[in-house]
């Protein structure tokens, strides 16, 4: 692109300002645009619905605060759905900050479930370094890898972990993942090696790399992708939260970006035409 074509572009500060307004205004004045569910999200919902009551499942919190706006609503809606269905939740984390992410959700929802007890219906096993090797080792002997929970309570004193020796004793694994280690490693080990159902939620930007695992072999049973996936799940579980309220802002922001792309193209072709006329 020559300098003439490059010039006469909108000052980037205007772009920043417009985008800021596009995000801020819909968060303050809710538009209430419709949300539709997609097949991948319905598959995730179906997995939890079909899991027998009293089953024990792993939810792995493999993200940190940077991905919180997208993955936290998924985690919250999922944990609420599990508690509603009397499914017992074992939390693990392949990312150090995942422990706090899970605790944040649990502390927010536990008052709504006074009958759910820590150690009986929910447990946080804490962070474990090692990525895929940790998952492999969990598949061989869960109790060796997690001899105690994040508070230092012995696994033998936690009723939720009675009879949990490996993946065979689990209903499914759900990975909330913002990168590596994360959902791919869970698929490769928990599903491909040990044959357990695996599902998950990922950030919108990493969804294209994970979607191939949603296939006929059911390496992944559905997928929650980005804020939209979270909002769809909130819709299915009838627990509207921050994902639902954020969809308006995301929609307007996407529209603004599209308008900028169109404007950028018009600008480019107009400048190019002017260059040709001048015989450059």
């Amino acid at each position: 692109m020559s300098e003439n074509v490059k010039k006469k572009q909108i000052d980037r500060r205007w772009i920043f300002l417009l985008l800021f307004l596009a995000v801020a205004i819909p968060l303050i004045f809710v538009i209430g645009l419709p949300i539709e569910t997609t097949e991948n999200v319905r598959m995730v919902h179906g997995l939890i619905e079909q899991t027998p009551k009293g089953s024990k499942v792993i939810i792995s919190f493999d993200y940190d605060p940077a991905s919180k706006p997208e993955l936290h609503p998924m985690g919250k809606a999922l944990m609420e759905h599990c508690f509603d269905r009397d499914i017992k939740v074992i939390v693990t984390a392949l990312w150090p900050m995942g422990v706090q992410m899970a605790e944040d959700i649990y502390s927010k929802i536990k008052d709504n479930y006074p009958d759910k007890k820590y150690g009986v219906d929910y447990v946080n096993m804490g962070y474990k370094a090692g990525g895929i090797v940790t998952i492999q080792a969990m598949g061989k002997n869960f109790r060796d890898i997690f001899p105690q929970d994040m508070n230092g309570t012995s696994i033998d004193e936690l009723p939720i972990l009675d009879g949990i020796n490996n993946f065979d004793n689990l209903g499914f694994v759900f990975a909330l993942s913002a990168g590596d280690p994360g959902i791919k490693q869970w698929v490769q080990v928990a599903h491909d090696t040990y044959g357990r159902p695996v599902s998950g939620g990922v950030t919108g930007v990493s969804a294209p790399a994970v979607i191939p695992y949603v296939n006929q072999q059911q390496q992944l049973i559905g997928l929650l992708a980005g804020l939209k996936g979270a909002a769809e799940y909130e819709l299915l579980t009838e627990t509207p939260g921050t994902a639902t309220s954020g969809m308006d802002a995301q929609s307007v922001a996407h529209l603004i970006i599209i308008i900028f792309i169109v404007a950028g193209n018009i600008n480019y072709w107009r400048n190019k035409k002017a260059e040709k006329k001048r015989g450059e």
Partner: protein, 231 residues
Amino acid sequence: MKRKIPLLITFLVGVIIIISEFIPHKPFGQITGELENWYLIIAGFAIILGQLSLFKVNLFKIKHRQKNWQFFIITLLSFILMVSIGIFWGTENHPGIFGNGETISNTIGTKPFDYLFDNVYQNLQATMFSLLAFFIASAAYRAFIARTLESSLLLVAAILVMLGNTSLGSALTGWLPESLSFLHLPRISEFIMKYPTTAGQRAIMIGAAFGIIGSSLRIILGIERSYLGGE
């Protein structure tokens, strides 16, 4: 000898782990289990190594007054602050060497470590990630230009997916009759993600997997030795 022993260890470990994938019985299964435990212990130490490395690299930059050296002082001070208050007063469920810091906790509402984590660290990380949206918008305006057929196709696909992945897509084409539902933006977006994107991604994934197999074999067989340093 200094190089031959590590090469021999690498070869033996690599071969044992490959064999255990096909014969997961004694003695291979047991040995692999033990090796996995070793890996987990080493991975734990890697965190300490990373912290020491962060300290060393930042100190070096400050000492030699490298460009923007002042920022590295902030990194180090933040690091020391978080580690110190974590050790002194612990975190939410764990006491530190000075107990739980009740006086400070009563003043600020939570333990100092949790206070900084919730009110500083989380927000800073969320801010850094959110800034991407502004840069993407600016970059899209400048770089997403339909110069060729390929870039035009990419542009159209991107716009369809962007619209289809929002509530706006549902609102824009939600009125279409059932016979034209294939034109519904969320469906178009789902189609693009499910077929062309997945096909491309699978090709990349399979290619990358072959690459990993190749480079793993090179390491196991001692052809690739850069991990030993030098050469």
